[in-house]
Symmetry: C2
Subunit: 439 residues, 2 copies
């Protein structure tokens, strides 16, 4: 298809998909340019631990250049994608235009509010390090504010955390928040009793962790309730405003801390591709993961919609992104080696299992036909996350933090920093208010 | 003077002075209220390592509540000091007014631009975690930008770091920046050679580290130059604008990264006390550290001016702040125990020594009559800083980071996050520009 010596692959995004492609692609004569809007690969599965003061931001982030410094055929650019010109085989960046022979789209997803972008202001999602640091500061700050407020009403408002969405992220956030208030903050305040904080997990479906078998959902709910989390299934959110969640059943929950873990959609950049998208903005790719009408363009990970062996869409999880990246690498390597005209196999997703952690010695996991919960699932979760966390330093640092927290019931990153500015114009800062609740 | 059972001490600031007072004050019947504008004690001597990507922010910050949780007579408030009413014995906070019997002022200092506040915008100082994270992001971002710029002129501009001020902070910053560019970033870029970055340390006096004996200053300069730092003594800054330093000798240095380590003044809150201040805004305290005319108010640390045994002002270093805090604690304990009317001894500063680190195995130190430089001084510096770093977790985490960096020549916190917003209205964000230099 193209001359090997001069082939240029552009990879957009250094998440699990983009990074795996770059590490896995074998032909050293092909130039690769990897573009990301940050300088680091973020290990998103542990982001909730940064948000709940268990880990430092650098513990789960690794400089992209550092990870890939051994590959002389690879250039890393820190830049934003602005637009595509698929007809001319070009990607337009803020400071540059790149010509490609192959394009690998691995731009991931973002928090989705199901047509209610105005909720973002009051219920931040958790996709970036900035999100995590903002949530950490906000929750810790609410307890500081409660300590200075005189009325029980204000205490209750400030010490209520609502997590919307009972998928793995929501379950992990709710469990971690409950442990933070009950174990970590409990001893440190005088006027308030932080262990009286309410953590409420809201899920629209009849059970949490809908991707797992019903008995594991039930186990997860029991484990959460044991930690003090109120789990409310079959409960739909009608509206979210400052410090307030209104439910469809007419009930109102006053909460200074509202965290959104209910939805993910693909990056809005997919709209610029001019190809069919699903409702979540994902690119409906061919079975080989290429874009309809553009065999030289592939989409992998959270921004791609492809069906798994069970006929359901492949889930937006990191193993799926990595498998798609490997599949794409094999196709491109083959075509370059045989100068094109090679049959392309269809992508086959291999589901390695699903797990979610709830707290100390509390988790659920499904691996093949085996289902675990409690301590065994928790140990499995720890080991898997340490193995996949990128970077030796980070593995050791995280292992130490976990060991320290397990022994002492403390958290190592309990610091409030000023909220980082969002560089995009749209997103708001989150403020804490108690003034809205009627007396 | 006041009734023991109902005495209330208000301590403002949880830096080295304020924290030491709270830990050291022995009378459990006296109520203490400690106020700080952050929730953490910051170990400022290692702040430059956060700025140069060696350490994570939480490694050098410890929650104040956590440090003092064993003291039931002590309340911690996260709040800002707005004003004082010394006549009524009141401190006015944003959300509260506190009555006190004794007041301990330990509000520390801030970066001073010697009457040129407009320079702050272009040459950030290093006093808070937010400062450190901003500098880290800015310097790393400049190298990322250099990688995408085509012209050698732009490379040179983006890869030049000017540190203004040759005291310990400036020396440590310059050394750490040189190591960052020469060892850490060197391998990771393709279009630029990060080891060609220029680091220039500018000092107005004839030698750096003016507080140390001349032979140690000379040694420090040699060690810096060995790392590739250009040390320019007897060099005065005339003006600083975006990406540009103009010197009094007429020379102009173009540098995308200008860091300010030249001056510290006391918190501007001292102006609200209505007592005599020196030029740096420090309170000119009595020999017992109390304020003139206010025996129940004490000032300790960087905001207090008191003379040492050599007739010079006691320097603004953490051991001095801690000694002043202990002195104040003894005076107040005595007066409460004997119901006032006890003679107050004068504060005596015991100079334990001075040290500054320059890089791997490179440092200078003076302890009593002994002077060290090189590896021995560096080991002494490491040990002293680990001992005084607050928190067991932090000691282990920092020890691991240092060991890791020493072995691998890598840095564990090389991540760019969006610049944090300053909450104060005055301070600017720092942008990187290459456009100003004439072609």
């Amino acid at each position: 298809m193209v001359d090997n010596k001069h082939s240029h692959i552009v990879v957009l995004g250094a998440g699990f998909g983009g990074l795996e492609f770059c590490k896995d692609f074998q032909d050293p004569n092909t130039r690769i340019t990897l573009v990301d809007r940050t300088n680091h690969h973020l290990f998103q599965p542990l982001l909730y631990q940064v948000a709940t003061a268990g880990l430092s931001a650098p513990d789960i982030a690794q400089p992209i250049r550092s990870i890939l410094s051994g590959q002389p055929n690879l250039t890393v650019l820190l830049d934003n994608v602005v637009d595509f010109n698929l007809a001319k085989k070009q990607v337009i960046l803020t400071g540059n235009t790149l010509d490609y022979d192959y394009l690998v789209l691995a731009l991931g997803g973002r928090t989705s509010y199901f047509g209610h972008p105005e909720w973002e202001r009051f219920a931040p999602g958790l996709k970036t390090l900035e999100d995590a640091l903002r949530i950490r500061s906000q929750v810790l700050m609410a307890f500081e504010k409660a300590e200075t407020e005189p009325t029980p009403d204000a205490h209750e408002h400030l010490m209520t955390i609502v997590v919307v969405g009972g998928g793995p992220t929501g379950v992990e956030m709710a469990g971690a928040c409950a442990e933070l208030t009950r174990h970590v903050l409990k001893a440190d305040f005088q006027r308030i009793d932080a262990s009286e904080a309410r953590v409420i997990l809201i899920e629209a479906a009849p059970r949490i962790l809908g991707n797992l078998p019903p008995e594991l959902s039930a186990s997860a709910q029991r484990q959460l309730e044991h930690l003090g989390v109120q789990v409310r299934t079959s409960t739909k959110v009608k509206s979210i405003t400052q410090g307030r969640v209104d439910l469809e059943n007419g009930e109102t929950i006053w909460a200074a801390n509202i965290l959104w873990a209910a939805g993910v959609s693909a990056t809005p950049l997919t709209k610029k591709l001019g190809v069919p998208l699903d409702r979540a903005g994902r690119v409906v790719v061919n079975p080989d993961l290429s874009l309809p009408g553009h065999p030289e363009v592939f989409a992998v990970g959270d921004m791609a919609l492809v069906l798994g062996p069970d006929g359901n869409p492949v889930p937006g999880v990191s193993p799926a992104a990595m498998q798609m990246a490997k599949h794409t690498a094999r196709i491109i390597e083959n075509e370059l080696a045989f100068q094109g005209a090679v049959a392309r196999p269809a992508f086959k997703y291999w589901d390695k299992g699903t797990m979610a952690t709830i707290g100390r010695s509390a988790a659920v996991a499904k691996v093949g036909k085996f289902e675990f919960s409690g301590f065994l699932a928790w140990m499995a979760w720890l080991v898997v996350h340490l193995i996949f966390l990128v970077g030796f330093r980070n593995k050791i640092a995280v292992l130490f933090q976990w060991f320290y927290s397990y022994i002492t019931y403390k958290r190592g990153a309990r610091i409030i920093t000023n909220p980082p500015c969002r560089l995009e114009g749209t997103a708001p800062t989150v403020s804490i208010g108690t003034g809205e609740k009627p007396a």
